[in-house]
Symmetry: C2
Subunit: 361 residues, 2 copies
């Protein structure tokens, strides 16, 4: 059977060796005679799994002690509400960057709880999308935090620098970019990422938060939406999504074995570079994103002859290249290239695209 | 290697054949060359999985069309808030039965949003716990709903009848008892159950709700806590916990193959009967629960000589009988016997207990 390369935006392709390890251990974890799925979350075996997972994440991202690491349920969409609910404190305003659909969703949710100040937004010039400059913006002490989306998976745009926000805590949605580059954690107040792109499978969300950023909440905040509750209970206030948490640990071990996040960064850059070169050098394809703002994880593109899109997707599928349909809101094509996508998959995609262009020019 | 029988209260023992099927399919689901973990939740393969899962659950529990079936994240603890947030509407009061620690947690969370009327509570007489009679209580139109916990896992108490609540919607936490007996769904307004006892592994929660029970919510209600959002999006507003959902589907198929919920009910009664008989016929052991109120899923018990508890647990473990420690809040021992516990496990436990009593009388 041919290899399938899955370019979905998430849930997404996972490293084969990680899946194989999970498969091997599924019915009997380390000779316990039990599946991880069957273990009590308060049992010593699962405690060891979760402690190791946190330890490895702290090691990979060099997370200092005064940052809490939480493993929560509810996905990034829950964080859209949890961030304002827990970080506003006595303040009424929060600063947001509108860089695409995910930041827009985050802003809309935050508006239930805060006055949302949109300090900058994505721009379109001559059909090309540009991210705004997010330095030198009017961030003030009135803002409880400064929120931006590191990587927009739908449009395929990414900030390649960290904004200066003074004393205002920087909050970043890194769902699609966590582990794809080293981070200077102390520059952030809070980072979160749901798992189904770079951290395993859907069902668990990592939150990394500096201890002084967590403020008292309003009475209407559900218990499950209170960071402090999860901090006080090592993310085990209720039964956490144990299997997704365990699988996340396997992914972290794999990243460590590959050489850590610097190696991941090189690989991500190398994989997408190949694809961007094709888009720039071939009239048959276009990238709708300004070169400086292109994502190292999601590469959207269009065909010069849009009528061929159906044929492109169909023939790609026959070649084992799946999940290339662009997001339903923007159309076109998109190749999502997370940590689990091997270089061979990108190479095969590039070759396929070259051949397809030749045959249809 | 000897079989391990895991009596944990949840996450809990799962049927071996279900785990084996998951193991077999983990790297390649039905020849797609992909793991279910890697599938986009909007992909046709995963859509087929989730539609089949809902269909099977509707079939097993005979759920009528005017009931929605949701597959959510966040566990039962999220439902403690979601129930009042979504069911109160214009009303201010809700009726609760205080039958144990889970109902207490539900009441405490509801008190953030509603005036909680505790209509009845658990009683202790001569060291024996009794459930209150929950019929003929002063339920009125002022109550938005009537809430009770079908089975209290910690104390091991279960209601074996449905209360009459007139037009007031009946809400039941069935986390530990769903699929263990047939249900007359039309008697309920809402039922919920997180997965890690009878429905698979932790990370997904089933909500079954009659369409007219879902009311407009307050503005502060997070998007993820709005039933209507999940109803409108077939539980795919955001990326759902796809793998836990899939695994739940495997569990449902297994229940169906076993003969459905009536067969499950017989098995649950048979398994716990064996254990209760031992407790009642042996001075060495005690059940702290009144016979009429005993759970068919969680069997707590104490030793006449509490000093032997450590030896009991240690020797049980050596015999492959694990997870028997009582909840940290009540002490003693507890055997949780969900659908995945084979009769052989209970038989072995009973034999072990008889021998242990003989040796230590």
């Amino acid at each position: 059977m041919q290899n399938i390369y899955n370019f979905s935006a998430g849930p997404a392709m996972l490293p084969k060796v990680v899946l194989q390890q999970a498969q091997e251990e599924l019915c009997d974890w380390h000779g316990t005679g039990m599946s991880v799925m069957e273990m009590s979350h308060r049992d010593k075996d699962f405690t060891a799994i979760r402690e190791k997972t946190e330890h490895t994440l702290r090691e990979l991202l060099a997370i200092p002690k005064h940052y809490h690491v939480l493993f929560l349920s509810g996905g990034a969409t829950s964080q859209f509400a949890m961030v304002p609910m827990n970080l506003l404190g006595n303040k009424k305003k929060a600063a947001y960057i509108h860089s695409g659909q995910w930041s827009k969703k985050a802003m809309e949710e935050a508006a239930r709880y805060a006055a949302v100040d949109v300090l900058a937004q994505v721009e379109q010039r001559n059909g090309i999308h540009h991210l705004p400059n997010i330095n030198d913006l009017p961030v003030t002490d009135e803002h409880a935090y400064f929120y931006y989306t590191d990587n927009e998976t739908i449009s395929g745009m990414q900030f390649h620098y960290l904004p200066q926000t003074g004393n205002v805590p920087l909050v970043s949605d890194m769902t699609s970019s966590i582990l794809s580059k080293p981070l200077d954690i102390e520059r952030y107040g809070l980072i979160y990422a749901s798992a189904q792109k770079n951290l395993g499978h859907a069902g668990v969300t990592v939150v990394i938060v500096r201890d002084d950023c967590v403020k008292p909440v309003q009475e209407y905040t559900p218990t499950m939406f209170r960071y402090q509750i999860h901090i006080d209970n090592q993310s085990c206030y209720n039964t956490p999504p144990t299997y997704a948490w365990y699988f996340l640990g396997l992914m972290l071990d794999w990243v460590k074995q590959q050489g850590g996040v610097s190696v991941m960064q090189q690989q991500c850059q190398q994989k997408t570079k190949r694809l961007y070169e094709l888009l720039d050098n071939h009239d048959f394809y276009q990238s709708p994103i300004a070169p400086a703002d292109r994502s190292h994880l999601n590469v959207p593109f269009t065909l010069a002859k849009p009528v061929l899109e159906g044929a492109f997707l169909e023939q790609a599928k026959q070649a084992g290249l799946v999940g290339l349909t662009g997001h339903r809101s923007v159309g076109g094509m998109r190749a999502s290239i997370y940590l689990g996508m091997p270089e061979a998959g990108v190479k095969k995609l590039v070759e396929f695209m070259q051949n397809f262009a030749e045959k249809n020019k």
